[in-house]
Amino acid sequence: MKKKIDLKVNGEKCLVEVDPHMTLLEVIRDELGLTGAKLGCGGGECGACTVIFNGMSVKACLFLALDAAEGEVWTIEGLAKEGNLHPLQQAFVEHGAIQCGFCTPGMIMASKALLDENSHLAEQQLKNGLVGNLCRCTGYTNIFQAILSVTNIDEKL
């Protein structure tokens, strides 16, 4: 039995029809066509589906769509403004923190959530905070350097 829900995605109001078993990931990707968030494992273990919901980083593959009703979702597509990359995205580019790119949208959203909570993130806090986002290509080293390069700056990220 489909149900209509209101939610805000990347600052825009959306009205979507969802089945009760649908996940937020399915809504974002299949109903709204935002394919940045990825299906990597379907079990909340790899973090490729990470988006920000009501200010918190969540695994969209385990998040029921109905629970997102009236909420606010930010995905990777919402970061760049008018063709200008967000400082986090720019940092990933400049520090070689991207290889295959599959983990990248989730990794960036997870990092943004950490920085939104604490813009003066220390290295160990960052390493622990990203435990839910697996990367098989980069060995994480350049990812850390990219994110740490935008900590401790005054500009609201």
Partner: protein, 756 residues
């Protein structure tokens, strides 16, 4: 070290596909939309070994929303393997299933959920057979045959020189056994395929593959389609590491479903299927016997390998044969004997995984070097330097080592990690080292007789270029490297190069991304193609300025005479001149591995055009109460000939090291009664962000004369010696030698208990 300064080569520029990837606009397989696409699901065997008595898919066929069902009757007679003479895997089982997960039937339906439910309606009657899970059991007399020809997929036995005689001349002989576990690639993107068999008999498949053109040939052969109607398209790809270097049942099944339904069909593995049924690094037992003189000179090496091939021929035979060749590489051993058995078991079959057998044999060789050094009263570093490989040497197979920076790698790594200061100290901290020697340019005869890549470049009227190549970008960023080479050669900027890859109908031949070959082979092809255009530009400029062609250089988007800025013309102006004269500005570079050795008569292995080298060292601490290993510091130095893009080379080193650390400490596929027990990321532990130590990735440039700007490949090397470095560090820390991977806390505690 290379002193020459280039404009774009050697620079740490961001990769050219950064923006699509970082904005989430890069489309991977599951992101693509196809009109009328159906969703496919595969029915898999619940038994490790059984006869198929009856398959009845009629109920599934009648289920609303199901558009087509295929079984082994549809795919009858087809056998899969990259190496045709070894092919024994049917895409869908015919009379037997041989591992839990073996493909039996498949359904295409309007949604994944309908397809899943339809699988439950397919009735299969089995007659269970005794199953074999250990290679040692598979070779016992009287056991059931997994395949008609028996349970031994291949036997290898050869010798270079005379190891018996050399052992007779040795002062000390060492014999050790090492056990290597199965390890999964864990690409973040699960494998899959969209197949569209269109009404006019043309076939297109979209896949995250490492080998577009070889796959095109294989599919064309299987389905009897002319190559001009057979198209392989590779979208952005979420990892490879060898997992996508094969022909798998999924794509064949998807094609059959598309043929039956007349619509595009998509099948993508779940993560569970990735673990349970996907390719992975082969488990092996390696016995290694080495004879040395008291001064450390290595005289002979005998290697015996027992490979658990799983249920069908994937890459087990070629990888094991390749280990034979690799047994002759490191430390300049003049006498080498190799013996191996590749044995079937009723488990899923493996494939190539970053190093293609070298991680396994290097673990054995480098662990034993540490053992030998201690017994001889030598520092391992000195033992390595005593036998170090060098430029110009011939291996005992008669293959030449072109460039070699191994000595520098050893010394640089040792200095950076503080080898002399921190090794052999009291307490529970230790240092360990491991080196590697591996191809940096693919290998001839692995697939077909050549090792080639073909690149087309066409220059547009504004001086920008389109570069077409059959390579596969799977995260390593080789499209960026080709763009840098083209830009350098033509004297244009990186943003002037548009790299077109990923479509066999558009791009020229390339054997694909494997064997660390792309930078060397496709890079050289790119350089040749760019040179052809450059010479045409020089020719035209020489006419305009009445100056000899040799006096011109291409730089900063201009062609000009060295030292004379008046005799200059922009490349875009020249391009327009060509256009107005009705002449084409295009270049083609076809490059093949320059070695001329046929497959070696003894090993069956082809030659490699160059070798990459490296040395890694780790500092760690062992907790005596828990057995846990805490990684403190890691240093990796790799000889890449010339780093076209140092930032990307470091990225390969970082990533390979972390994969190597997982292989060393936490990753292991665990079967019980043929059932794989760890099929998700919680139970199969790859390194997370919290597990990585500080890693220093260093580059040595030995400038290979055959490489583009001196470059060699480095894609696989960083994952090869890591486990040995860790095992050696554990020994240095607590005097415990672990000879099986992974080095778990349980193994350490057990060994500590036994030593007390």
């Amino acid at each position: 070290m290379d002193q020459k300064e280039y404009t774009i080569v050697g620079k740490r520029i961001p990769r050219i596909d950064s923006v699509p990837k970082v904005t989430g606009t890069a489309k991977y397989l599951r992101d693509l939309i196809f009109q009328g696409m159906l969703h496919g699901k595969i029915l898999r065997s619940p038994h490790p070994h059984a006869k198929i008595v009856r398959v009845d898919a009629s109920k599934a066929e009648r289920m609303p929303g199901v558009r087509g069902v295929v079984t082994g009757i549809d795919t009858q007679g087809i056998r899969l393997c990259m190496f045709r003479h070894l092919a024994n895997k049917p895409p869908l089982a015919e009379d037997r299933v041989r591992f839990i997960g073996d493909e039996i039937a498949a359904v295409a339906a309007d949604s994944e959920k309908i397809a899943e439910r339809a699988l439950e309606l397919i009735e299969v009657e089995y007659e269970e057979l005794p199953a074999i899970f250990e290679p040692t059991d598979a070779i016992k007399p009287g056991v059931i045959r997994i395949h008609e020809k028996g349970n031994i997929a291949a036997h290898r036995s050869w010798m270079y020189g005379d190891t018996q005689k050399a052992f007779g001349e040795s002062d000390q002989i060492f014999e050790d056994r090492f056990e290597l576990q199965g390890a999964n690639h864990c690409c973040l993107e699960p494998y899959g395929c969209v197949a569209h068999y269109d009404q006019s008999g043309g076939l297109t498949v979209w896949m995250p593959t490492q080998m577009l053109h070889p796959l095109r040939q294989i599919l064309a052969d299987i389905f009897g389609i002319p190559l001009s109607r057979m198209r392989v398209i590779k979208p952005y790809t979420g990892g490879g590491f060898g997992a996508r270097f094969d022909v798998n049942p999924i794509e064949i099944i998807a094609v059959f479903l598309s043929k039956k339904t007349g619509r595009p069909v998509r099948i993508v593995n779940t993560r569970d299927e990735e673990f349970r049924t996907g390719r992975f690094r082969y488990p092996m037992t390696i016995d290694i016997k080495t004879g040395v003189q008291n001064d450390g000179t290595i005289l002979a090496r005998e290697v015996k390998v027992l490979t658990d091939a799983g249920a069908y021929n994937g890459m087990g035979v070629t990888i094991t044969s390749g280990i034979g060749a690799k047994s002759t590489y490191l430390w300049s051993v003049p006498n080498v004997k190799f013996e191996a058995d590749v044995v079937f078991t009723n488990k899923v079959y493996g494939g190539g995984f970053r190093g293609y057998g070298n991680p396994q044999i290097t673990f054995a060789i480098e662990s034993q070097m540490d053992i030998i050094a201690e017994k001889l009263g030598m520092d391992m570093m000195d033992l390595c330097l005593k036998n170090v490989n060098y430029s110009g040497q011939l291996t005992c197979m008669g293959h030449k080592v072109t460039s070699c920076g191994l000595k520098e790698c050893i010394e640089k790594t040792a200095e950076t990690i503080g080898w002399k200061q921190k090794r052999r100290k009291k307490g529970n901290r230790g240092l360990g080292m491991g080196s590697l020697m591996h191809t940096g340019g693919g290998v001839r005869n692995l697939y077909g007789e050549c090792n080639l890549s073909d690149v087309f470049i066409k220059m547009n009227n504004d001086g920008t270029v389109d570069l077409l190549s059959g390579i596969a970008e799977i995260g390593q960023g080789s499209d960026t490297v080709l763009a840098q080479i083209a830009a350098e050669e033509l004297g244009i900027q990186i943003e002037d190069v548009n790299v077109i890859i990923g479509d066999t109908s558009i791009t020229p031949q390339c054997l694909g991304a494997w064997g660390s070959r792309v930078v060397f082979i496709a890079g050289n092809a790119t350089k040749l193609a760019a040179e052809e255009i450059k010479l045409k530009l020089f020719q035209e400029a020489s006419t305009i300025f009445e100056t000899h062609m040799d006096d011109f250089i291409a730089k900063n988007r201009k062609i000009y005479v060295k030292g004379n800025s008046e005799k200059a013309i922009s490349i875009s102006e020249l391009a327009v001149i060509f256009y107005n004269k009705g002449k084409i500005l295009a270049g083609r570079g076809c490059y093949d591995d320059p070695t001329h050795y046929s497959p070696d008569p003894l090993t069956g292995y082809g030659a490699v055009p160059n070798y990459g080298f490296g040395t890694q060292a780790v500092e760690l601490e062992v907790d005596m109460e828990t057995g846990q290993v805490k990684l403190l510091n890691f240093v990796a130095t790799h000889d890449v000939g010339k780093a076209i893009n140092p930032m990307m080379v470091e990225g390969q080193i970082d990533g390979g090291v972390v994969q190597g650390l997982g292989y060393a400490l936490s990753e292991s596929l665990f079967w019980e009664g043929g059932v794989l027990k760890n099929c998700n990321f919680l139970d199969y532990r790859i390194f997370s962000s919290a597990d990585v130590p500080p890693i220093k990735s260093l580059i040595v440039e030995s400038i290979d004369l055959d490489g583009p700007y001196g470059a060699k490949g480095v894609g696989e090397a960083p994952a090869i010696p890591t486990a040995a470095a860790v095992a050696n560090a554990v020994y240095d820390a607590i005097g415990i030698r672990i000879k099986s991977l992974p080095i778990t806390p349980q193994k350490i505690l057990k060994a500590l208990k036994e030593s007390n």
